[in-house]
Amino acid sequence: MTIDGRPDPDQLLARVQAAEARAARGRLKVFFGASAGVGKTYAMLGAAQRQKELGIDVVIGVVETHGRKETEALVAGLERLPPREIPHRGQLLKEFDLDAALERHPALMLMDELAHTNAPGSRHPKRWQDVHELLDAGIDVYTTVNVQHLETLNDVVSGIAGIRVWETVPDHVFDAADEVVLVDLPPDDLLQRLKEGKVYLPQQAERAIRNFFRKGNLIALRELALRRTADRVDHEMLAYRRETSAGAVWQTRDALLVCIGPGGGAERLVRTGARMASRLEAPWHAIHAETAAPGPQADSGHLRIFRTLELAESLGARTLSLTAEDPVAALVGYAREHNLSRLLVGRDHPRPWRPWYRSMADRIGHAAPDLDVIQVAREDAREAATPGSVNVLRAPFDGIGYLKAAAICAGVTLLATPLVNVVEVTNIAMLFLLAVLMVAIRLGRGPALAAAFMAVAAFDFFFVPPRFTFAVSDAKFVMTFVVMFIVAVIVGQLTARYKQNAEVAARREGQARALYEMARDLSAALLPLQVEEACSRFLQAEFDAGAALLLTDADDRLQLATPKVGAGRTASIDAGVARWAFDHGEAAGLGTDTLPGSALLYLPLKAPMRTRGVLAIAPRDPLRVQEPEARRQLETFASLVAIAVERMHYVEVAQNTLVQMESEGLRNSLLAAISHDLRTPLAVLVGLAESMALTQPPPTGAQARIATTLQEEARRMSAQVNNLLDMARLQAGKVKLNRQWQPLEEVIGSALQANQNALADHAIEIDLPEDLPLLEFDAVLIERVLANLLENAAKYTPRGTRIDIGAALNGGDVEVWVEDNGPGLPKGREETLFQKFERGTREGTTSGVGLGLAICQAIVNAHGGKIRAENRATGGARFVFSLPRGTPPTIGAEDPGEENGEPA
C-alpha cells in the first residue's frame, strides 16, 4: 500500500507472478446455476461445440446427459474419454479416469458436476480435486456447479430448502475460477420444464426433490445464485480497479480469528467466519484452544474438533490447535501475535444455575479490551459447550482411587476409636481432615470428594454424639462438615490441575527430547539406512507408527524398491500414491485430500534444493497422524529428514567429485607421461634423420633418399601421435579453453603458415568481410581446426585446384568455411565424417587415421559452435563451422591528431 495511491511494487510483482502462474495453468470456466434443470450442461456443451469449431482440441471428461435429447445432440461430434471402472462392493462403478485424461492432454476438457464425490479408490475423494490437477497440467476445464453445492452457502440453502447436500465445493475453488457463466432460468420456466419431464430426477428421492422444486425455494435459490455471481463481479471489478489503480481504495485488512470450541455448533461458526472473511477480503485463522493434552484415545469430541479444523482449512483458514493452561490468554496471545483484530466466538447460552459463569466473549473482552469480539449464534443449543472450556479437566473414573479413599477413611476411623475419650471430638475431625487432604493430594478430585463424604459420614456416625447415629446434636459440627467438604474440593481441584500441568509438561518435554534425539541421530547419519532407523525410532516412540523412506536415485527418480514399512506392520507401500506425493510435493494418503482411504500417510521430503523422496508412515491408530498438530509435527519432522537426506546427497556429490578429481589428475599425468615418452623418441628420430644430410662426407643419393623418407615418416607419426593425444585430452572433456578476443584473420594466417608445405600446390583464396567483429576463441585450438581442414582439403584434392577460405555473419554466429574444388564428399556420409577413424574413402592411399575431423568437431563444440560438411553445388567439399559472436570488448578510439608519434 502506498500513500500516493500508486500500487506497491511488491504487489505489482505478486500480480505479475500470479499472471504468469495463471498463464501456465489451465483456465477454469464454471457454468453456474441456481438448481438442477436450468440448463448448465446444455450451455457448457454449446460453448464446447463453439470451441471445437474454432479448432480447439475438446474432450469430454464427464457429461451427464440424463437422456435428454437436446443435450445429447450437443454431445455428438465431441470426443469422449472412456470412464475407468472401479469395482466396489461387487458392482462396477464408472468413474472419471484422471490418468487417461492427463495422458490424452486435450486443450479443453468438460467436467460436469464439479461437486461430485468420486467412488472410493479414486485418487482424489472429490471431482474438484481432479479438476485442480487437470488445471495444473495446463488443461482448460469447463464445469458446472449448482448454488447449493458451494460450501459456505450449504447452511443457507439447507435452511431455505430443507435439503442438505453432502457434495460440496469449497468456495476458493469457485472463487479461483477464471470465468463464471451464470445459467439463469426464471422459476416458472423451470417448473414448466419439470412438468414436461425435461428435468432429470433420480427415482428414489423423487418425493423429497419434488418438495425441493417449490416456487418459493426456486426464487430463493435463484436470488442466492444471482447474488453470488454479483459478488464475484464486484470482486472482479475491485481487482480490475486495483490493477488499473484508478483511484483504487486500499482498505486495511481486518484479519479474523475464529475460536473453535468442542461443541457441535463450531461448524456453523467456521462457515460464518469464512463468509465474513471473504466479504472483508481478509485472511482468517481458526484456532482451537484447550487446557489439557489430547489423550491418545481420541474421543468423538476431539475428532469433531479435528473435522471442524479441517473444514476451516478447506475454506481457506490457517488452523491450529493450542494447548494452554489458560485458553483465553492463549487465544488473545495468538490474536496479537498474528495481528488479528476480530475474534469470532460461539455465543454461550445463559446458565441460570451458574450465575457466576462468564461467557467466552466476556472473558476475552476482559483479557483484551482492544480486540473486537463477535458472537455467533450456535446451531444447536444442546450441543453447545464453552469454547476451550475446562471440561477436558474431567479425569477418567478411577475405581481403585475410590477404594483407596474408602480404605483410608476406614483406617482413620479405626485409629481414632481408641482416642474417643482421650481427646476432644473436634480434634478427631482434624484427623479426618488430614485424611481427606492426603486423598486429595494423592488420588485427585473424585476420590477426594468421596473421601470427604465418607469422612463426614464416619465422623458423624462414630464420633459425633449421639454416637452410632447420623443425628447431630451440636450445630458446630455442621461447620466442621462444611469445612471438610470445601477443603476436599479445593485441594482436589488444585491437585488435579497440578497433575495435569505436570503431565502436559512431561509430554512436551518428551516431544522435545524425541525431536532433539532424532535431530541428533539425523545429523550423525551418513547412510540412508541410518536416517531410516532414526525415522523409525522417532515415529515408533512418538506416533506408534512404522516408517519407510523412499529416496530418489541418481537421476532424481523415486525408488520404490524399499520393501517393508516398519516391523510388524502389514500395510504395504502404494507406489502410485508415493509417486503422486513426490511429483506434487504434497502429502498424500491417509487423512489427506489425495487418496485418503490409503492405510499409509505419504509425506514428501522437501529439501531446500528439491524433493528428495517420500516418507511413508504407517500408524497403528490412523487418527494419531490426522490431528492437525500431529500433521504439523510430522511435516517438521519430514523436512528435518529431507535436510538430512540432502546433506547426505551433497556429501556423496563431494566424494564423487573428489574421486573424479583424483582420477582426472591421474589421467592427466598419464597423458603427460605418454606424450613425453612418445614424443621424445620421435623428436630424436626427426632430428637425427635430418642431420644425416649434414654429416661428412655427405650421403649419396640413395642414402639421402632414405634419410628424407625416414624424416617424413617420423614427422607423420609425430602428427598422428599428436592427434591421438589431442583427442584423448579433448575427450577427457577437460581441455581448458584459453579464450581471447581476436580477429579471425590472424589464425587463418598462422594456420596457412603452419601448412605451408602441404598447401604449396594449391591456390588459396581468402574472402573475409571487412566488418567481421573480434571473436572470442582459443587461438591454438581454432588454428588447429583450420589447419586440419586445410590439410584435408590439400590431401583429398588434385594439385593445382583452388581452396577458398571465407567467413560471414549469420545471426548470432559467425560462420567460417573452407571449400575445395576436389571430388567432393561421398554421398550420405557427411555426418559420419566427424566420427573417429572415419575417412572420406574407405581404403585410400592417402594416409591419416581420420582423427582430424573428430578433433575439429570436439574443438568447435567446446567453443559452443557447430561444424558440418556438405558438397558444393559446383562440386567439391565444403566444411563450415560456426562460432558464437558474443559481445566483443570496445577499444578506445585513438586520437588521430598525431602521426608516426609526432604532431602532424
Binding site: 609425430s718 581476436q742 585513438e894 598525431e898 602521426e899
Partner: protein, 232 residues
Amino acid sequence: MSEPHVGIIVIEDEANIRRFIKLALETEGFQVFEADSVQRGLIEAATRRPDLAILDLGLPDRDGSEFIKDLRSWSDLPIIVLSARTAETDKVAALDAGADDYLTKPFGAAELLARVRAHLRRRHRGEGGSSLVEFGRLKVDLSRRSIEREGVPLHLTPIEYRLFAYLISNPDCVLTHRQLLKNVWGPSHVEDTHYVRVYMGQLRKKIEDDPSRPRHILNEAGVGYRFVLGAL
C-alpha cells in the same frame, strides 16, 4: 659458413636430442657445451660464456623459466627454448621471463640452424646499432621516424608507430602479448590482449602486401608475434 669461437650451450636432459643438436651445430662450426640440468646449465653458462643458449623447458631439476630469470640477471645472450606442443603457457612464461624464441618438438636440424643463425646475426647487428632498416618494399629510419613504401611516406598512428618500432627493434624474436602491451601501452594494459591484436591487424594492413598471409608480422598462435625481416 664458419664462425669460430662462437659457443652455444645446449641444456637438455634427453641425451639423444642433445646428440643430434650437437651434431647439427658442430657441422656449422659452432662450439657446443652440454648440460643436462638447470644446475649444470647455469654453471656451464657462467664458466664458458657462450654466445647463445638452447634450453629445454622440461628439465628434471628446476623450471626452465627460473634458469632464464637467473641467466638474464647477468647476461643478455639469446635464448631459444625447446618445448612440447600444447604447452603454450610454458612457452609464454619462458618468453616473458626473457627467452627470445622457441622451437616446438619435433623440429628439424635446418629449422634449428636457421633460428640460431638469425639470433646470432641479430646480436651482431645490435652491437652495430643501425637505425636504418629495409625489408620487403619498405624503408624505415627509426631515428627520423620515417617509413616509406617504394619512396611513398607511410602514415601510422602513434600507437601503430610505437608497436612497429618495438617490433623492428626486436627482429626474429617471439614477443608475447604481455610484452607488447607492457612496452607499447604501458604496464596498466597488460590484460587487454585484444588491443595488441586489433592494432597488429591495422599495422599488417599498412605494411604487408597481403595482410591475410603476412610475411613479416607473423602470428604465433597462443603465444604472441614474431617480426621477421625476410624469410628465415
